[in-house]
Point group: C2
Chain length 115, copies 2
DNA sequence: TTTTCATAATACCTTTTGGTATCATTTAAA
DNA sequence: TTTAAATGATACCAAAAGGTATTATGAAAA
């Protein structure tokens, strides 16, 4: 099946535990054990979340002795932010009302990366 | 169960068909029938996607005679963009490398809305 | 009033998801 | 060289997701 570049990241972000893990990794990189200490689920569950985060390129994993360091990879988050930015004129527009913003959008945009 | 304000939106955005629907609704509001015309799935499937988008406050639905108009609600997207912005210093930082950005983050941030 | 059109609702099916428990593997330490 | 620690892998389970087909409703049109 076809997957857009950001699909893996959107999928990973859908789960609150995974978003929480990203917040923790934004403070410092961690081993799996250290991530587990911050949640009340089993190591196996945490491991699965880390795999999904890795598949979405939101983290990278680096072996170090018998440990494995999990590190935030912010560029995948930027991919998501970029997708959202396509809609940003709806909320930071000076027009102030949605109807006008959509009409303005219809005039200016026919094709786009989100389509 | 506790749900953060943005949980419904993140959940809705995880599916590529639903993201596509939002792109279409950014062009103009549409009835369900008009949304269906743009996809190769059944009306029932589209309806379910619209319900999930509505649950995430990403769209609102407005009865009009025997039709129901689906309208983009951009503020829920802003909620998601705001969550992501917490991480933005990792990619737009002048520091340029992640290690420094995380160390800088450790100094400046102890608690935050994402935590 | 009787159709017809746009939509809602429900039952059902398969795959994915989020979790557990258990066993295997690899590396550091005694 | 054993032993302990950190992690990986697998089988299993219940619930949620994404889809279909079918039936029901409610408003517009003939």
């Amino acid at each position: 099946m076809m997957h857009s570049a950001e699909q893996g990241a959107f999928r990973a972000l859908a789960d609150p535990t995974r978003r929480q893990i990203l917040v923790h990794l934004a403070q410092s990189e961690m081993t799996i054990g250290e991530v587990c200490d911050r949640f009340d689920i089993t190591r196996g569950a945490v491991k699965k979340h880390l795999i999904i985060l890795e598949e979405g390129n939101l983290i990278s994993v680096h072996p170090k002795g018998r440990e494995r360091i999990n590190r935030l990879e912010p560029m995948a988050l930027k991919t998501v932010a970029d997708w959202l930015e396509y809609f940003s004129h709806f909320w930071d527009s000076k027009l102030g009302d949605l109807k006008s913003a959509i009409e303005s959008n219809q005039k200016s945009t026919k094709e786009n990366d989100n389509g």
